[in-house]
């Protein structure tokens, strides 16, 4: 087991290097960081050339990559081309916000999906199953930005017009009150619910499908045959195996908690990583993009490893070679 983990960790080094090379090339293809200056009527050709030289855009691409890599190895993610701030500081400002939003959404997802998924599988074809399935599907089937805007329309604009207690339409806290727990929680409800409910649908589907499959298996039938109560059969025997795909799903979602949710953050004006990424993707600001990428891809690699280890824990028949 330990050897397996060490080997996987060693394998991840070339993987990470590969990811950075591919991403660096893709970012380069996606546009030119100088575009913003080329369209600025107050920039002379000399000024443009000076900026290109200052940021190293005049060097060949592989040189730009090596400069970037050698800095990152020393723990320096460099400076943004547009805000000129250290990338580590920019990420540091946004990461906690994204974790709050995504963490809350993740909790909502699991809190909704696990009980409902189990219920839906155990009481297959009951009215409750149809209702849950139906609602989960509806939430899933709505485009996020539309759902978000509809939620703002209803819970914040209309509720206010109707004189009902209403929720804030966007932002992370009311600046005049300050960043208090209550404020953040209040502003968190809409975006976290939208995100949480949308992904809950996926989890419910997977959990239900996998539990149904497990329930029909021989060992569950055996458990039933030996007279165990249905409750014990489900909770002691079936769930553990049925959780395998859900764990896979959850593990693969964890890195994205750090990456944030671009569209939800846009719609609800949440200052998270998704927006940071997009705002700088538009400007081809590669130090920021690569910084985010390194963090997220390291987490992806790590979480995939964790998922594999968890399989072994959940299903002892899997051996590691």
């Amino acid at each position: 087991m330990v050897r397996y983990i060490v080997r996987r960790l060693l394998q991840s080094i070339p993987l990470l290097i590969g990811i950075t090379i591919v991403a660096f090339a893709l970012i380069h293809v996606s546009g030119d960081p100088m575009a913003v200056y080329n369209n600025n009527p107050r920039m002379s050709p000399e000024a443009k050339a000076a900026i290109a030289a200052k940021y190293g855009f005049d060097k060949p691409l592989y040189m730009q990559y090596f400069v970037w890599v050698s800095r990152v190895i020393q723990g320096d993610f460099g400076y943004s081309f547009s805000t000129f701030e250290p990338v580590s500081k920019m990420i540091g400002e946004r990461l906690p916000n994204s974790l709050i939003l995504m963490g809350a959404a993740f909790c909502i997802t699991l809190l909704v999906a696990i009980p409902f998924g189990i219920y839906s599988a155990v009481k297959q074809y009951s009215w409750g199953d149809h209702l849950i399935t139906g609602l989960a599907f509806v939430a899933f089937a709505l485009p996020t930005f539309w759902l978000g805007l509809l939620a703002i329309m209803l819970f914040s604009v209309k509720f206010k017009q109707w004189g009902l207690p209403n929720l804030p339409a966007g932002g992370m806290y009311d600046v005049s009150v300050g960043k208090t727990f209550g404020q953040v929680a209040q502003h968190l409800i809409l975006p976290a619910s939208v995100l949480g409910l949308v992904s809950a649908a996926t989890y419910i589907r997977h959990l239900r499908a996998s539990l149904l499959e497990v329930i029909s298996q021989d060992y569950v039938r055996t458990a039933r045959a030996k007279g165990l109560s249905e409750r014990k059969v489900i909770y002691r025997h079936a769930i553990k195996n049925a959780m395998i795909p859900v764990v896979t799903l959850a593990m693969m979602d964890i890195p994205w908690l750090f990456a944030g949710a671009l569209i939800t953050e846009q719609v609800f004006a949440w200052p998270g990583m998704g927006r940071l990424f997009w705002e700088h993707a538009v400007k081809v600001d590669y130090p920021v993009l690569m910084g985010i990428l390194v963090i997220v891809s390291s987490l992806v690699v790590l979480c995939n490893l964790l998922a594999d280890i968890l399989y072994a824990v959940l299903d002892p028949r899997i051996r590691f070679a």
């Binding site: 990811i19 893709l26 709505l142 996926t202 996998s210 149904l212 499959e213 029909s216």
Partner: protein, 299 residues
């Protein structure tokens, strides 16, 4: 679609042992799922409407702008109203449906094909094959899809075909991981050991013995995938990277309607509803299929 291929192979396995054919059995089970049957009916109607509609509806109604009648509410002349440049929303919905449904179905076919293949090979052969394929999966998972989308659009030109390819190439990874996990688990089972003992080839083990037993996640993944692909198309439209105008898709119709959302809600409501209904129906069908395909479910 890939489902059908899977189904046919599963049929071979069971046709010999079952009294009724596998196909009949599945259909019989599927029919009991009333929601899925209703959904199948709706999707059928939608497919007919969007595929045949353009024959009956003049292209100009969907494409010819007339700003003089923009943002008009539903009326007898325009049953769904007119959009932000005065085109008939109903006609656009029909024309867009073709594009959106094609995007959803073809992208998923690509994604299921790649995902199943990679997951099966990795889970079955393990070792270096597994390591390489899974690290490749990790790589694909780690690179933000926005860049792949943009980069491919730069190479291939922003077109519907590009979006289909990109959505297909970007969505197979979770399925591959799930299939691999199932393969890892199934290949240790007694019936596989038995099959191996009687000299079944690797291909036969993969396609005839293991794959039919992991149909459930493939079907669930594929159906949710069609919905996801259509929703992703909407999301990339929100970022301005979707199907380019003047070609309509439900996603870009919804996106363009955004700024009129509060004062001319019909412009966004209809494409939004179409996406909702389609994704919903496809998922119900997937649900019904899952139940029907489960080889161990009681007939």
């Amino acid at each position: 679609m890939a489902d059908r291929a899977v189904l046919r192979r599963a049929e071979d396995v069971f046709a010999t042992t079952q009294h009724r054919t596998w196909r009949q059995l599945v259909w019989q089970r599927f029919k009991r799922h009333r929601l899925a049957m209703a959904a199948l009916g709706i999707i059928g109607v939608l497919l007919v409407l969007t595929m045949l509609g353009p024959i009956f509806i003049d292209r100009d109604r969907a494409y010819r702008p007339n700003p003089r009648i923009m943002n008009q509410p539903p009326s007898r002349a325009h049953i769904m109203g007119t959009d932000e440049v005065g085109r008939d929303i109903f006609a656009r919905i029909i024309y867009a449906g073709r594009i959106s449904l094609t995007i959803g179905l073809v992208a998923v076919a690509i994604s299921v094909g790649i995902g199943t293949m990679i997951g099966a090979l990795a889970g079955f052969y393990r070792g270096w094959t597994d390591t390489l394929l899974m690290r490749f999966t990790d790589l694909m998972l780690s690179i933000p899809s926005v860049f792949l989308l943009i980069a491919l659009a730069v190479f291939l030109g922003p077109s519907v075909r590009t979006i289909i390819i990109v959505l297909g190439l970007l969505s197979w990874m979770p399925l591959a991981r799930i299939i691999r996990a199932n393969f890892l688990s199934l290949r240790e089972k007694e019936f596989i050991e038995a099959a191996r003992c009687i000299g079944a080839s690797n291909a036969s083990l993969i396609f005839r013995h293991i794959l039919p037993n992991t149909v459930a996640p493939i079907v669930v993944g594929a159906t949710l995938g069609v919905g996801t692909a259509m929703l992703t198309e909407t999301a990339v439209s929100y970022l301005g990277l979707g199907v380019q105008p003047p070609t309509p898709s439900w996603g870009n119709m919804l996106y363009n309607a955004q700024s009129q959302m509060w004062n001319a809600p019909w412009i966004s409501v209809f494409p939004g509803l179409m996406i909702l209904i389609t994704v919903l129906c496809i998922n119900f069908i997937g649900d019904g299929l899952r139940d029907a395909l489960d080889p161990r479910a009681k007939p």
